[in-house]
């Protein structure tokens, strides 16, 4: 594919450089990148956050924020027309008719005050001179191609009335209604659940085939790449590191950076670890229930069962994973166990002591034993306090002197691989991965028996993710901790968990040892979850990397 270009490329980016404003950490957002996309080809742009993937996409669409990011060199040829040179009027004509874009978060990309049908209709009104009836027919027709059912009622509903997957289909319909030659998809499945993601990927592939559209697909997920890409372009810090056919890049990567990225992708084979069966149980839940709702002043009583009869058990030194899609109640379980919310019914035994219903005052002495680490490292540290102050806060709450607490914090920092001198800096001076380490340090400072990691690595880049996962494993072994690991990512679960509980609609549908669950899933839902995982059957290059 690379050596022979039969027809003219749809999109050809040549030596494109986009400058960053003065005072940024580097000079160029993207530097001398050259990418071409042939007709009917899916090119995946892969890279970690800050690598310039989205800037590339936005420059093609001509959507770069003016005054801040300016293309300073190179050309972007869309079917022989240089996008950087054309007038604003022509650019408007090109958008939608020749090229179009779908975004990561369909809820924010769609206008909440317009019906979905009207939003697609708007594209047609702007670019064509069709009459109302023809436009309506076209809208219904394109929605039909998106494998939606009950088309006219979907066209008449507002974005909030639809599910995430349906909304993304609307976005794709909107992008494709004028049959553009180029579709740019900026992380279109990142915000979706795995099963929905699988459907959307299939849909994009199918539609791309039927419409003969060229696709520039931006993602950070190598599973998705394996699933969809014809060719792959790997970016790092604004430069193209490597490009080539998907199979070649994924199996025999050349550049060390690509090797590192692919090596960081957790594989599906659950790790085996011989567990001493008779270690004491740190935490057990019995018929744990959490119901939201109840009566308001004037409303009818409306109850939502977030968690229903959950029974779990975590032994010292072991990791229990809770796996499920969004809304399955996995986070609610975690927050009940940490007693951030009060469970409605059931028992939570922390070393044989039931903490499910104890009062706030007697809870105070138990708080230090269970510590929780949250998903978003940017919001889980108070931006106005130094990280040192955040780490020692808990220790001071339990009566330790400031000097003593700082000493413990200093001793902890090497364990999470951060320089102790960094204690008096503020959170915004750290990267996402470093912040997550600081959160781990804060949890460890309390000397807990159980650590709850609520999607703790989901917001991190793959390479950082693998380091943080390794850190979790390391502290679990060293300190003999019990870890409750909540994730939506089956690869991550396979890597760290000893036992796995699969949750669906607030109930645990499957519960057992990781090796057993992965090799021989019993429940139908578990099987569909595994089948949907992107790149499941793909054999990534086996590269062992050394981190830390």
């Amino acid at each position: 594919m690379t050596d022979e270009i039969k027809t003219q490329p749809i999109l050809e980016i040549k030596n494109l450089t986009v400058d960053l404003p003065n005072g940024s950490d580097r000079l160029h957002a993207i530097e001398e990148i050259s990418i071409y996309i042939g007709p009917c080809e899916i090119v995946c742009l892969v890279g970690e956050s800050g690598s310039g993937k989205s800037v590339t996409a936005f420059s093609v669409m001509g959507l770069l924020p003016k005054d801040q990011l300016t293309p300073s060199a190179g050309t972007i040829d869309l079917m022989g027309e240089n996008i950087l040179q054309v007038s604003n009027k022509r650019l408007r004509e090109l958008r939608g008719s020749r090229m179009s874009m779908i975004f990561q978060e369909p809820m924010t990309a769609l206008n909440p005050t317009m019906t979905c049908g009207d939003q697609i209709d708007e594209v047609l009104t702007t670019h064509t001179s069709m009459n109302h009836a023809m436009r309506r027919e076209k809208v219904i027709n394109i929605l039909g191609q998106m494998q939606l059912t009950d088309l006219s009622s979907i066209a008449d509903s507002y974005p909030h009335q639809l599910s995430g997957g349906q909304r993304q289909r609307i976005m794709i319909a909107m992008a494709l209604v004028l049959d553009p030659v180029l579709l740019i998809a900026d992380e279109p499945t990142t915000a979706l659940d795995v099963t929905t993601q699988e459907q959307i990927l299939k849909l994009i592939k199918e539609i791309q085939h039927n419409h003969e559209t060229a696709v520039l697909f931006i993602t950070h997920d190598f599973g998705v790449v394996a699933e969809i890409a014809d060719r792959v372009v790997v970016m790092q810090a604004g430069r193209v590191i490597e490009q080539g056919p998907a199979k070649v890049i994924l199996k025999q990567p050349n550049a060390p950076y690509t090797k590192m990225l692919i090596g960081s992708v957790p594989n599906f084979v659950p790790h085996c670890r011989s567990l001493a069966k008779n270690t004491p149980i740190v935490l057990a839940t019995k018929n744990l229930c959490k119901t939201y709702g109840g009566r308001g002043f004037f409303q009818k009583s409306r109850e939502i069962r977030a968690v229903h009869r959950v029974n779990l058990e975590i032994r010292r030194g072991a990791t229990l994973g809770i796996v499920g899609e969004s809304g399955s109640g996995k986070s609610t379980v975690a927050r009940c166990i940490a007693r951030l919310i009060d469970p409605t019914a059931g028992h939570i035994y922390l070393e044989n002591y039931d903490i499910a219903q104890v009062s706030q005052s007697s809870l105070h002495s138990l708080r230090s034993r269970v510590q929780i680490i949250f998903q978003d490292p940017y919001r889980s540290l108070n931006p106005r306090r130094t990280v040192g102050a955040s780490i020692i806060e808990g220790l001071i709450n339990y009566g330790m002197s400031k000097q003593e607490a700082y000493k413990r914090a200093c001793l902890l920092m090497p364990l999470v691989r951060i320089d102790p001198n960094a204690l008096n800096r503020y959170p915004h001076q750290f990267s996402g991965g470093q912040r997550q380490r600081i959160c781990i340090a804060r949890a460890l400072a309390m000397e807990p028996q159980l650590i709850i990691a609520d999607e703790a690595v989901s917001a991190l880049d793959v390479s950082v993710q693998s380091q943080v996962l390794e850190l979790f494993n390391d502290i679990r072994c060293r300190l003999n901790l019990a870890i409750l690991f909540i994730t939506h990512d089956l690869r991550v679960a396979a890597q760290v968990c000893d036992t796995i509980a699969v949750m669906h609609h607030g109930e645990v549908v499957e519960y057992g040892e990781a090796t057993r669950v992965f090799d021989n899933p019993q429940h139908e839902y578990t099987r569909s979850l595994f089948a949907a995982a992107p790149g499941r059957g793909f054999d990534f290059a086996n590269i062992s990397i050394s981190t830390g």
Binding site: A338, L340, H364, R367, S368, V370, Q371, I372, F374, Q375, D376, R379, S380, L381, N382, P383, R384, R385, T386, G388, A389, S390, E393, G394, N397, Y398, K402, Q403, Y406, K407, C410, L411, P420, N421, L423, N424, Y426, H428, C439, R442, M446
Partner: protein, 311 residues
């Protein structure tokens, strides 16, 4: 090993305090709007405090022979101790022949006192109520209904009622102006608390065993300080104006006591012929409000580490 760590601990803990104090101080000095605001406000405060020593006369002394003089008129005046001296009406006189210059200088006292005390009082009370209402959910509904009720009553009307029920003293006036401002502060504080109380870092603080009062003070309060300062400057400004309105309606401080509002209210009658009675207190009022607002804006920028990074 242990010795090294102790050394490190000492350096970290001491650096911690020193660094924060010195950087904040440097930021204060470097910020031009804070410098301007502080200097001007300091100047006005200085004028207010040292009013008797700034070549002023009794601000309520009436001299019917010299009514409605334009600024700069000189004449010989018999002082209370019997001596005679030449006196310059720097800012003219009003309809009762009182020296506008002296009245404006003395007026700074009352206006600043009313503005700052009202701001402090309503911010303090509003902050406490708002914090508790925002964080303790079951109290929220009750507090909010009371505040809604309070907001339904026009502020001026409430103030008039309060002043007519009690004596027209400075304290009553301050209370009367402060109370209608409280619901606004409560709503501001509550809305910020509601948006921050679910932030993961607040939950993290709960899970490391931080008790409610400390959560409010350590994690929620710092986020509220910046908008409160801006709100405070607004209340400061509006309190001075409301005081002027109340004085004009005759329910404020008695007219012989000079306040900027009083002077302007009286000058209004003869504004077309003798604009100086409104012009001079107006200039003082405008400059003071500008200084307060610039100070508030500057402080807001500095107190927020995220904005500070951008500066």
């Amino acid at each position: 090993m242990i010795e090294g760590i102790e050394k490190l601990v000492r350096s970290v803990t001491s650096d911690y305090v020193v660094m924060r104090m010195s950087t904040i101080w440097q930021q204060l000095i470097r910020n031009s709007s804070i410098m301007f605001g502080a200097i001007v406000l300091g100047f006005v405060v200085f004028i207010a405090i040292s009013a008797p020593f700034l070549d002023t006369m009794d601000p309520s002394a009436i001299d019917l022979a010299w009514r409605n003089n334009k600024p700069g008129v000189r004449h010989f005046k018999i002082l209370p101790d019997g001596t005679t001296r030449e006196w310059t009406y720097r800012m003219g006189t009003d309809t009762l022949g009182r020296d506008t210059y002296s009245r404006v200088i003395y007026g700074a006292q009352v206006s600043l006192a009313v503005g700052s005390l009202v701001a402090m009082l309503s911010l303090t009370i509003g902050l406490i109520i708002g914090l508790v209402a925002g964080y303790v959910l079951w109290l929220d509904a009750i507090v909010l209904r009371i505040m809604d009720g309070l907001m339904a009553v026009p502020g001026i009307l409430l103030a008039i009622t309060m002043v007519s029920l009690a004596n027209a003293s400075l304290l009553t006036l301050i209370l009367a102006i402060a109370i209608p401002e409280i619901p606004r502060v409560v709503r501001l504080v509550r809305s910020i608390v509601l948006s921050i109380r679910d932030e993961p870092y607040v939950e993290a603080a709960v899970s490391v065993g931080t008790r409610l009062p400390m959560i409010l003070i350590r994690h929620l309060l710092p986020n509220i300080v910046a908008p409160l300062i801006v709100m405070g400057t607004y209340i400061f400004a509006s309190a001075i104006l409301v005081e002027a309105i109340l004085s004009f309606l005759g329910v404020g401080i008695s007219p012989e006591t000079p306040t900027w509002g009083n002077i302007m209210a009286e000058g209004r009658l003869m504004f077309r012929i003798y604009p100086h009675n409104i012009l001079f207190p107006g200039i003082f009022l405008a400059i003071t409000l500008l200084a307060v607002n610039m100070l508030g804006d500057g402080l807001r920028d500095i107190l927020d580490p995220r904005i500070r990074k951008r500066l």
